[in-house]
């Protein structure tokens, strides 16, 4: 039987560790494994930085400034440290990194299954199987759009598109657009679609408000300096909640301007509450808009107070923060007295619904019993609940910055150290046996 099995599943190779995905997180892991002399391959379904190439809208820029773009042994080399990378620039940055670290990447090699095997895993791909002791999942946190159940019941004449498939406004039908979701994605898309002269409505649930610049510097400069982004997963009260926090309402704006709900409303975007229900052809919005905006205003004020306190305590400013402006507070979010609660989808006011309601990872290929009741990976700071299995790049995996490019370095170093110890324990067991 065993011989037959081997014939049926030809082994493409044997290695110590397989890294699934050659985005910034997988490559950061590859670099750290190489530093430790751990034999590995990086399997990539498409090309290096695949999601950045194929699953993002055209105008997207990173939410973090260039000076913050760093990976293990590599940092931004360009002439515009305060700029924000466009997608071609991100792809170039990650591509150059893959070459600089000589990562052993197999492109065009989609992983179809990972199964436990004696002393490790069998990683099946379209081009044969790999056997290995350890697997690092770095296939991305933002792979599958998460849509509310009622999305499936929308009237047929309403065009529905998710943020993953959206590229640019001219892809949409003429006429009104309802953007659902007020994270960075929803705000940016509502803004650019409104600028294409279409009427835009934005459905707003709980969100995170953040000014682009504060006290004379980019907000990321303060978050970095004050260590807010380094906060560890095992130091927060409720990590499950922290991991669910939507991305802050930021845009990588060339002119440093802030994109918030007030700015959108001033440009004619109509703000409504979160999508609460669909009754026949009538879409219903929650009456909680005022409260979710108040929550976000209060939370923003607490963040800015944290920064103010840090500045007061710091005394001397780090480089780049020499001219520290006095504290100021953004205007409260303005909400109309009685936001619209209903939208008749039959009246033609809205032709398109754009779901910017978040993403989840795709683990359909992971055939290891490591999932909780809701299909989420069970892990402790990236150490998955199966020996030798690790995950990278998820929101607040180990630190608040974990899902950002600059967040990969610390996580990759931690997890590769754990992985090396795991391998050493296995080797010791083998010697004893």
């Amino acid at each position: 039987m065993r011989a037959v099995e081997r014939c049926a599943f030809p082994v493409a190779g044997t290695t110590t560790c397989v890294v699934v995905g050659a985005g910034h997180a997988g490559l950061a892991v590859s670099r750290c494994l190489s530093e430790r002399g751990i034999d590995h391959v990086v399997l990539e379904r498409g090309e290096v930085a695949n999601a950045w190439r194929r699953e993002r809208w055209d105008s997207l820029r990173l939410l973090t400034p260039n000076w913050l773009s760093r990976l293990p042994g590599y940092r931004y080399q360009g002439t515009d440290p305060d700029g924000f990378m466009s997608m071609p620039e991100v792809i170039g940055f990650i591509d150059r990194y893959a070459r600089a670290i000589a990562a052993p990447v197999y492109t065009g090699t989609r992983v179809t299954a990972v199964r436990p095997e004696r002393d490790g895993y069998r990683v099946s791909t379209e081009h044969g199987d790999w056997r290995c002791r350890a697997v690092v999942i770095a296939s991305g946190a933002f792979s599958v759009p998460v849509l509310p159940a009622l999305a499936a019941a929308m009237p047929r004449d309403i065009e529905c598109i998710s943020a993953r498939d959206y590229r640019r406004p001219d892809q949409l039908a003429d006429g009104g657009v309802l953007v659902v979701g007020a994270s960075a994605t929803g705000l940016q898309l509502a803004d650019e679609i409104r600028r294409s002269q279409r009427p835009v409505m934005l459905a707003v649930g709980e969100h995170v408000r953040m000014p682009r610049r504060y006290r004379g510097a980019d907000i990321q400069r303060w978050l970095d300096a004050a260590g807010v982004l380094d906060e560890r997963y095992d130091a927060v009260d409720d990590i499950a909640r922290a991991r669910r926090v939507p991305s802050p309402q930021l845009v990588g704006s060339v002119d440093g301007s802030t994109l918030d709900l007030n700015a959108l409303a001033a440009r004619g975007v109509e703000l409504v509450g979160r999508v609460a229900g669909l009754r026949g052809r009538e879409l219903q919005f929650s009456g909680s808009l005022r409260n979710v905006c108040a929550l976000a205003d209060l939370k923003q004020a607490r963040l800015l107070e944290t920064i103010d306190r840090w500045i007061d305590a710091a005394g001397t400013m780090p480089p780049g923060l020499m001219s520290c402006a006095p504290p100021q507070r953004p205007d409260p979010t303005r909400v109309r007295d009685a936001p619209r609660l209903r939208l008749d989808l039959g009246r033609g006011e809205i032709r398109t619904i754009l779901w910017a309601t978040g993403f989840r990872p795709d683990y359909s290929w992971l055939q290891v019993p490591v999932f909780d009741a809701k299909g989420r990976l069970r892990h402790d700071g990236g150490v998955v609940a199966a020996p030798g299995l690790y995950v990278m790049g998820l929101p607040f995996l180990r630190r608040r910055k974990s899902s950002f490019i600059h967040g990969a370095e610390d996580d990759a170093r931690d997890l590769c150290a754990h992985l090396q110890e795991y391998l050493a324990r296995g080797a010791l067991r083998a010697q004893v046996a």
């Binding site: 509450g273 919005f285 009456g287 909680s288 808009l289 005022r290 409260n291 936001p339 609660l341 809701k374």
Partner: protein
């Protein structure tokens, strides 16, 4: 029994003539139709609060109940509370039952149907993982509300079903529960 014969005896305690008269009067002065309902609640201790209702506005002026009514709100002992009254969500069910039942009586009167008994059993299903903040996919409020009427009346089953349908169509509380409302909570 003919319609005429039935009309003579029907008395559900609803003054239909007065209601229809009010509708006529309000058609001329629609601003008088704006009502504001009020409740005042004082926290007592723990999850125990005491609410009173007395005044309201409508018909173009301040109005008041005959007397003030008091409602104790608390939670059962299994919530580590003192159980001094019904839970707030039970008051919502009470409101729905009262509103639909009043509607059934009024519509029955208007349709010349004599009611002998009307019993409403209201159930609100809730997964408390929502209010405990355990699962963001679980809503805080009811995920299902069911009302079961047992009605004894001198009417066919179809006529009684039509009463129930019409009472929902004209029910304030049914609308409040079934449809979104803007809610504005401030600190005075």
């Amino acid at each position: 029994m003919s319609m005429q014969a039935r009309a003579m005896d029907v008395d559900n305690g609803v003054n239909v003539a007065a209601l229809l008269g009010a509708r006529e009067a309000l058609a001329a002065t629609p601003e008088a139709a704006r009502f504001q309902w009020r409740a005042t609640s004082h926290w007592v201790n723990g999850t125990h609060s005491r609410a009173t209702v007395r005044d309201f506005s409508g018909l173009g002026g301040e109005q008041a109940h005959r007397t003030s009514f008091t409602f104790e709100m608390d939670h059962p002992e299994l919530f580590a509370a003192t159980d001094q009254g019904a839970t707030p969500v039970e008051y919502v069910l009470v409101g729905l039952a009262g509103c639909l039942s009043a509607g059934v009586a009024a519509v029955a009167q208007n349709r010349q149907i004599q009611l002998r008994s009307v019993k409403a059993t209201v159930e609100g299903a809730m997964d408390i993982q929502g209010i405990l903040g355990m699962d963001p996919d679980v809503r805080n409020g009811f995920d299902d509300v069911r009302v079961s009427f047992e009605i004894d009346a001198n009417a066919t089953r179809e006529e009684v079903e039509a009463l129930i349908a019409q009472s929902q169509k004209r029910s304030a509380v049914f609308d409040i529960i079934a449809n979104p409302t803007n809610v504005n909570v401030t600190l005075a």
